[in-house]
């Protein structure tokens, strides 16, 4: 009995809010250019080469990186390394229960993430090998793909893959003419148009841009500027997270060396 039975019907105790902008302010009290509360942590999966967990408000994403490891035989020889991305939403992550297999949207997210990260990774440093980036969205509270890309870049850094720069990504939604940064799921549901931008802020290169809905040239420029500002903010937060992780690892190593020096190992 796998997957959703065709007979059962979802029922929600609360309906989605009809309007997400009340008197020109967002429902959760943020300004139009404010992120939700951001939490980033690396090294959360003990089995993976590198991993990261990101929580932006109600969006929770976990990424695990394995590799570089041997490429699949079917993929053939390649002088450059390969990056394989896989994005999956947990069945309970969305309001309505999802299916167990991979839906079209997930395949598209995987392709978008691959384009976003490939420009940043130094693929020549692991020829003939593949780095697998597996992403699982535990709760989809809005802008899942943007959060996933940011977390994936952190996980790649945690795994020690050479990167030209950290990639950070954010989404912008246009609701009733106003541009909202880092929209929640309710805001995305009511948008006229949206865009996702992934860029490498220090090198100032855009690695991925996906837009939905109609945008005029001027609106697109405004949206891009807002998103680029958001990415710069995220970049600072991501670098801080990596610095803290490195400091913690160094402290742990120093403590272990101290303990080892005190008692010689019996091995």
């Amino acid at each position: 009995m796998a997957g959703r039975d065709a007979q059962s019907v979802p029922w929600f105790a609360e309906e989605r809010p009809q309007a997400v902008l009340a008197d020109g302010a967002r429902l959760d009290g943020r300004s139009f250019e404010e992120f939700r509360s951001v939490f980033l942590k690396t090294g959360v999966i003990s089995q993976a080469s590198g991993s990261a967990y990101a929580e932006f408000g109600r969006t929770k994403v976990m990424v695990g990186v394995y590799g570089p490891r041997q490429s699949d035989r079917r993929q053939g020889y390649s002088e450059r390394g390969r990056l394989a991305c896989d994005v999956k939403l947990a069945t309970f992550a969305t309001r309505q229960r999802g299916i167990f297999g991979q839906s079209q949207e997930e395949r598209e997210h995987s392709a978008a993430m691959q384009t976003a990260l490939e420009a940043a990774a130094n693929l020549d440093s692991f020829p003939k090998a593949t780095v697998d980036v597996y992403c699982l969205v535990l709760e989809a509270g809005g802008s899942e793909l943007a959060v996933a890309i940011t977390a994936a870049a952190l996980a790649l850094a945690d795994a020690g893959i050479e990167l030209f720069d950290l990639v950070s990504a954010c989404s912008v939604s246009r609701v009733e003419g106003s541009l909202l940064l880092d929209p929640s799921a309710d805001e995305t549901h009511r948008e006229d148009g949206g865009l996702l931008l992934a860029m490498m802020p220090t090198v100032n290169e855009v690695t991925q841009l996906v837009s939905r809905g109609q945008w005029s040239g001027a609106e697109l420029k405004d949206g891009l500027e807002l998103a680029m500002g958001g990415c710069a903010q995220l970049d600072a937060a991501a670098r801080q997270c990596l610095r803290e992780a490195a400091a913690a690892a160094a402290a742990k190593q120093a403590a272990e060396d101290g303990a080892a020096a005190a008692q010689p190992a019996a091995a």
Binding site: D192, M200, V203, N204, L209, S211, Q214, W215, L220
Partner: protein, 292 residues
């Protein structure tokens, strides 16, 4: 996809040609290859079109069936896009080989033509496809078949899809209520082609792929030129110049100012493409009216 192998000198030759604004076939950087559109190629389908853009050959068939609407949008019909990469185009498409490419093309079409999650922002007004609100509507299946790969698939596919939808003739449906008010109403489908309704495709966008070769933005690449490009942007633009969907493909990063420039190039190219397609469609439809 069995892509031709290019030597380093060929890549240099193509890049230099782009720099001189004279490509291998003599086109300028922002010129499209000659576009041939043929309507009504499949007699059994509700609407169909065949598009040849240089070497690229695409056939689209549109079929309308009665189905139930989306629970989120009970007063709208539905649109389903499916792309098949025929093994005729390349032996690599045997079996499941072409799944990735076809999925990519189908999703790109869907994103540009279908309204977003809020129901707004779509190119096609789907409420005309509704028969009984909340219960029945027309479900339009757009099936694309790739016959030959000559580069620039996205553009050819979007032109073909728009042309086929313009050609589609949805039969008129009469809802006959049953004797009992709680009974399921009866549907009478009118087979008369002259009574059929046509879809208003004026708002549908066309996709333009702008790529970067060296330091220049180029439009409508052939297969060889695609192998030389490092980054490309797919922009879906509608006839009034608004951008309906944007996706970046390929590995290289893009400078933001270059990206905005590419969007402008795409908007200019799309205007020309829309004009060319509108002319062809008008001519073909006038021909059909004269014959039929």
């Amino acid at each position: 996809m069995a892509s031709p192998l290019l030597s380093g000198s060929e890549v240099q030759w193509i890049s230099a040609g782009v720099g001189f604004n004279c490509r291998n076939d003599g086109r300028a950087r922002d010129e499209y290859r000659p576009l041939e559109v043929e309507l009504g190629v499949l007699a059994q389908a509700t609407g169909s079109a065949r598009v040849r853009l240089g070497e690229t050959d695409v056939i689209v068939g549109v079929k309308a069936e009665i189905g139930s609407p989306d629970p989120d949008r009970p007063n709208c019909g539905r649109l389903n896009f499916a792309v098949e990469c025929s093994p005729v185009a390349s032996p690599a498409f045997r079996g499941r080989g072409g799944d990735e490419l076809s999925g990519e093309l189908a999703r790109a079409l869907e994103r540009s033509m279908y309204p977003g999650p809020s129901g707004r922002g779509g190119g096609l007004d789907l409420s005309v496809l509704s028969i009984v609100t909340g219960k029945t509507c027309w479900v339009v299946y757009v099936d694309v078949l790739l016959l030959n790969i000559g580069g620039n698939l996205h553009d050819a596919v979007s032109v073909a899809a728009k042309a086929a939808l313009a050609d589609a003739r949805i039969p008129r449906v009469e809802v006959v209520p049953g004797e009992d008010p709680t009974d399921e109403p009866d549907y009478e489908v009118d087979d008369d082609p002259s009574q059929a309704q046509r879809l208003d495709t004026a708002g549908l966008p066309l996709c333009v792929t702008v790529s970067q070769i060296g330091r220049h933005c180029v439009v409508d690449l052939t297969t060889e030129e695609e192998l030389c490009s490092s980054a490309s942007l797919q922009v879906a633009v509608n006839s009034s110049g608004a951008v309906c969907g944007l996706t970046k493909r390929r590995q290289q990063g893009l400078d933001p100012s270059v990206m905005l420039e590419m969007v402008e190039v795409a908007q200019r190219a799309a205007a020309k493409l829309h004009a060319a397609l509108a002319d062809t469609l008008a001519a073909q439809q006038a021909q059909q009216m004269a014959v039929g």
